[in-house]
């Protein structure tokens, strides 16, 4: 086994609390006084980042053998270890900057001359992001009398909305949100998948790490501005993805649209459970390996294409959507799902970028990524009243998503890869869907226990979701929902087969 594969081990060990347990360090002389700790945010982010590293090294270990690359990888790894652990501004900013700079080395050395121009663009955007974050941090620190801990600084954000917007913009640029996305969509055309998923995953972690450490960003009118901008960005990026005829650029747009969706979901419920935001953000980070590995997979048809779709769909969006209880949020999530399904299915892999990987490597890698997602979600689920309410609501929602994706596939623009078989699969698909709906509604109507989670104002979809949450009290609903989903999946498989 290549020694490279051992690199993420420290990250994962720290994430799982195997090194030092729940520790907190204060080093007064380092960087003017740093605070590092292994709290819930750090653990979840480390786990996600560790998985990104593991997957990237697993599929790209042959590519990473060149010694020139190692200092850059090592620097990136140190930065990605420090980023989640940093509880103070100085060390967070150090990791934030170092990650951007070190990944430039990875891009240039892995991408070669193809990435020359886009590398420059990437670097400029990273520097602008770094500058914005620094520029916004200074007034916050000054207002809090030199305080450098992130938690008190977050509390200051409500009094400094301008600084909050600058910080938000800086984090968004780093994460590859719209307007700062150019590097990502361009790299998607030029960089092989292993470094691409590394760059995409780690920078997403850097941007989201900032959002998670400074939750004050999504409060007040600054949060409202971000919410509106994210919505606009989401519409634009979904359009961008649907307009693509090639798989890789479409995947790039999907990543950008998912960042926008997370912003929309987070800002629509700023008071929601922070653990939920954290879980969905970490889940989104681990989605990156799956998305970019899909770009390497051969064009599929039939049941296999369905698998591709399932891997690409933004499952992570379930959690914040549940928490917000806003029915209209179904629409943006649906749009992103459609874009993701579209990107996973169109075109074929670019053989000039990605050498064909043995199937077992891809399978193992994707299994690692999925296992990582489960590891991230499980602690959150453990704090809730059970798995079944998630399954119930999830099944309901994803039926809609898959239906929508299928309809777009059938009636969408011409760039869809190939016409569907003539068997008029909608006839196969729709009846089970209706049956599932019917069973679900009946199951919900028979339940009258108080909801397991608080969902705010009363609304029809919200009540529906609340009822769905009660499914955990009895197995009937859960079983019904699961069976309905299974039926639909089988129907879909038959329809495409």
């Amino acid at each position: 086994m290549s020694i490279l594969l051992l690199w993420p081990v420290p990250l994962l060990m720290v994430a799982l609390g195997l090194i030092g347990g729940n520790w907190y360090w204060h080093l007064p002389t380092l960087l003017g006084g740093v605070h590092w700790g292994l709290d819930g945010v750090a653990q979840r982010l480390l786990l996600a980042i560790g998985l990104v590293w593991l997957v990237s090294l697993l599929v790209g270990r042959a590519r990473y053998q060149q010694p020139r690359l190692w200092p850059w990888l090592l620097l990136a790894q140190l930065a990605s270890l420090l980023l989640p652990l940093a509880l103070d501004l100085m060390s967070f900013y150090l990791a934030f900057v170092a990650l951007g700079l070190s990944l430039y080395g990875v891009i240039r050395l892995c991408g070669g001359s193809r990435c020359s121009g886009v590398g420059r663009r990437y670097l400029v955007l990273m520097l602008v992001a770094d500058g914005l974050v620094l520029e916004a941090s200074l007034p916050l620190v000054a207002a809090s009398h030199g305080q450098l801990l992130l938690a008190p600084l977050s509390a200051q954000l409500s009094q400094h909305p301008g600084a909050g917007l600058m910080l938000a913009l800086g984090f968004a640029l780093k994460a590859g949100a719209l307007l700062g996305h150019g590097w990502l969509t361009a790299l998607a055309r030029r960089l092989p998948a292993p470094p691409l998923l590394l760059v995409s995953g780690l920078l997403l972690a850097a941007g989201l790490g900032g959002w998670l450490r400074l939750p004050g960003l999504i409060q007040g009118w600054a949060g409202l501005v971000i919410h509106i901008l994210a919505l606009l960005a989401l519409l634009a990026t979904v359009g961008g993805a649907l307009n693509c005829r090639q798989r890789r650029p479409a995947q790039g747009w999907v990543v950008v649209s998912q960042v926008a969706l997370l912003m929309v979901l987070m800002t629509s419920a700023p008071q929601s459970d922070p653990a939920l935001r954290l879980t969905s953000a970490a889940w989104l980070i681990t989605q990156q390996p799956l998305l970019w590995l899909l770009a390497c997979l051969p064009a599929a048809s039939g049941g296999r294409r369905l698998l591709w779709w399932l891997a690409a769909l933004p499952w992570w969006a379930l959690l914040p959507m549940l928490a917000s209880g806003e029915p209209w949020l179904l629409l943006p999530t649906l749009l992103v799902s459609v874009a993701a399904a579209h990107a996973a299915a169109i075109g074929s892999p670019d053989d000039s970028l990605d050498r064909r990987q043995p199937a077992r490597v891809l399978l193992v890698t994707m299994a690692v990524a999925v296992a990582g997602q489960l590891a991230i979600v499980t602690p959150w689920l453990a704090t809730q009243r059970g798995l079944t309410h998630l399954l119930g609501v999830g099944a309901l929602w994803w039926l809609l998503a898959i239906t929508a994706a299928a309809m777009v596939h059938r009636y969408g623009p011409r760039q869809w890869p190939k016409p569907l078989p003539e068997g008029d699969w909608l006839k196969v698909l729709v009846p089970p869907l209706l049956v599932a709906w019917d069973h679900m509604l009946k199951a919900l109507a028979s339940l009258d226990q108080p909801p397991a989670i608080t969902l705010g104002r009363r609304h029809w979809p919200r009540r529906l979701l609340a009822k769905a949450a009660q499914l955990e009290s009895g197995l009937t609903g859960g079983v019904l929902a699961s069976v309905a989903l299974l039926l639909v999946l089988i129907a879909l498989a038959i329809g495409w087969g």
Partner: protein
């Protein structure tokens, strides 16, 4: 050892060393090296003893009669030690580098002789206790650096030397006018925490504004403030150790240190603020910061680009002073040290490229990171420090300057710092890109030192930039450690802003 002896030895050990070097025959390489290094070590030892005394609350001083009403005064306080220690340490490193750089070159006796005299002048400026002493050593510095600038003796070097002399001597005359005018108003002008001019009546305020302009105008020439900076890029024709000396140890630093002394210990920062002279000074520094960075962008010669970078960076020190407030003062003072170690690293590396491979132009840097990885690592650290990347010395300076700007309610300075950092990135990162990511397309211009396994260049050339690059990282990472430049700057600031 008495205070007087300690201060006199500190200043004069390099003077004596310089005179002995002039008397030695050209071929006495071993003796010359021993005297150079011995004098540098004695100076550092003396300064360590002085530091111990100053930390115990003492202010060491010695007064020597010079002219009626104008004594020569040497005085060691926290601020003078900041500059003196920087100069002494960097002199040692530069001497080691110069020994390697000038290996086999002609006129080494002349070079090292003036080199030592130059450091004597710098130490005199650092330890000057009044304006007259400051002025005398300041002019001595001009005279001793001129032979270093024209060392190569080429027509270009001679022209650069003439220009250097013209600028600095005119600056000296302006400074002298200010010194004499103030002397006429106050009598002897000894440096003192909180300044000395506030005892004058309000009727003298217009005169004091004019004197401030004259004094600052005089020292601003050496600090290379726009539009008085023209000599500096031309002086890049000098050998690399001289460039390092001019930019990081002696000349530019002496100018910037002069601004600090005049503002804090002659006028007193609060009185200067009440005169309304700090705001124009801040604007002047801001213009210089931007102009230097913009001009650096379009330079194709490596050393000229570094020279314009110095013009920009030295004004951070002046900006820190002009912002009025303890945080900005800390930023300015600490940048005096940090800019020195970062810039000397860059010049050492530029010298290594020139001396080893004959590289002078920026487009010749392609692939040099493969050929000279250690030098390029040092160059990278220096450049990142200049940009202000965290964990380097430059970040600490910029952080405190930014905080100071907010405390002084001058928000525009934050945008200035951001613009300057982006411009720094725009002219440094392409160099790093060429060095690390481009492949060598043509043979090196003049490969003087062939590549050997594990040795990219001479050890004497390689060690100094590595040591200074390491100190750039140490100063950034362990900024809060005892005796760090930051802690020392905080100590000085506490004295200057004592209620």
């Amino acid at each position: 050892m008495s205070d007087a002896a300690l201060l006199l030895i500190t200043v004069s050990c390099s003077l004596v060393g310089g005179i002995v070097i002039f008397l030695l025959p050209e071929q006495q390489r071993g003796w010359r090296t021993a005297i150079n290094l011995g004098a540098a070590l004695i100076k550092i030892l003396c300064l360590l003893l002085i530091v111990g005394a100053v930390l115990n609350g003492q202010v060491l001083s010695v007064r020597l009669p010079f002219l009626p009403g104008a004594d020569l005064v040497l005085r060691a306080d926290a601020m003078s030690l900041l500059f003196a220690i920087l100069s002494a340490l960097l002199w040692l490193v530069t001497t080691i580098y110069a020994i390697g750089y000038l290996e086999g070159a002609p006129h080494r006796r002349r070079f090292f002789g003036f080199f030592s005299l130059c450091v004597t002048a710098t130490m005199g400026i650092a330890l000057a206790g009044n304006l007259i002493t400051f002025f005398l050593f300041y002019e001595l510095l001009t005279l001793t650096t001129y032979p270093l600038v024209v060392h190569r003796g080429t027509p270009k070097a001679l022209a650069a030397g003439r220009r250097y002399l013209a600028y600095t001597l005119v600056g000296g005359v302006v400074l002298l006018t200010g010194v004499l005018w103030l002397q006429q108003l106050l009598g002897s002008v000894d440096f003192s925490h909180g300044g000395v001019v506030s005892v004058l009546a309000d009727s003298h305020r217009p005169a004091l504004v004019a004197i401030f302009a004259l004094l600052i105008g005089g020292v601003a020439v050496k600090a290379a403030v726009v539009p008085l900076h023209g000599w500096l890029p031309e002086a890049m024709v000098a050998p690399a150790p001289v460039s390092a000396l001019l930019h990081a140890v002696a000349v530019v630093k002496a100018g910037a240190f002069g601004v600090v002394r005049i503002c804090y210990d002659v006028f007193g920062i609060e009185y200067a603020a009440s005169l309304g002279v700090l705001q124009p000074l801040a604007v002047m520094a801001g213009v210089t910061i931007l102009w230097g960075s913009l001009r650096a962008l379009v330079q194709s010669d490596l050393k000229r680009r570094l020279a314009y970078s110095t013009i920009s960076q030295a004004s951070y020190i002046i900006l820190g002073v002009a912002l009025f407030g303890p945080l900005a003062t800390i930023g300015g003072l600490v940048h005096l040290v940090h800019q020195g170690i970062m810039k000397i690293t860059l010049f050492f590396c530029a010298g290594n490229y020139a001396e080893t491979l004959g590289i002078h132009a920026i487009d010749q840097l392609d692939g040099v990171g493969q050929r000279m990885p250690l030098t390029t690592v040092a160059f990278t650290i220096g450049a990142l420090g200049m940009i202000g990347v965290p964990a380097t010395a430059g970040f600490v300076s910029k952080w405190y300057l930014g905080q100071g700007a907010l405390a002084a309610d001058m928000g525009w300075v934050l945008w200035l710092l951001l613009a300057s950092s982006l411009l720094n990135a725009a002219y440094f990162l392409p160099l790093l890109h060429r060095a690390w990511f481009r492949v060598q397309r043509q043979p090196w211009p003049e490969e003087h030192i062939p590549r050997r396994p594990g040795r990219e260049t001479s050890l004497l050339l390689l060690l100094p930039p590595l040591v200074t690059a390491l100190s750039v990282v140490m100063a950034g990472l362990w900024a809060g450690a005892p005796f760090s430049p930051l802690v020392w700057a905080q100590l000085i600031t506490a004295l200057e802003y004592r209620p």
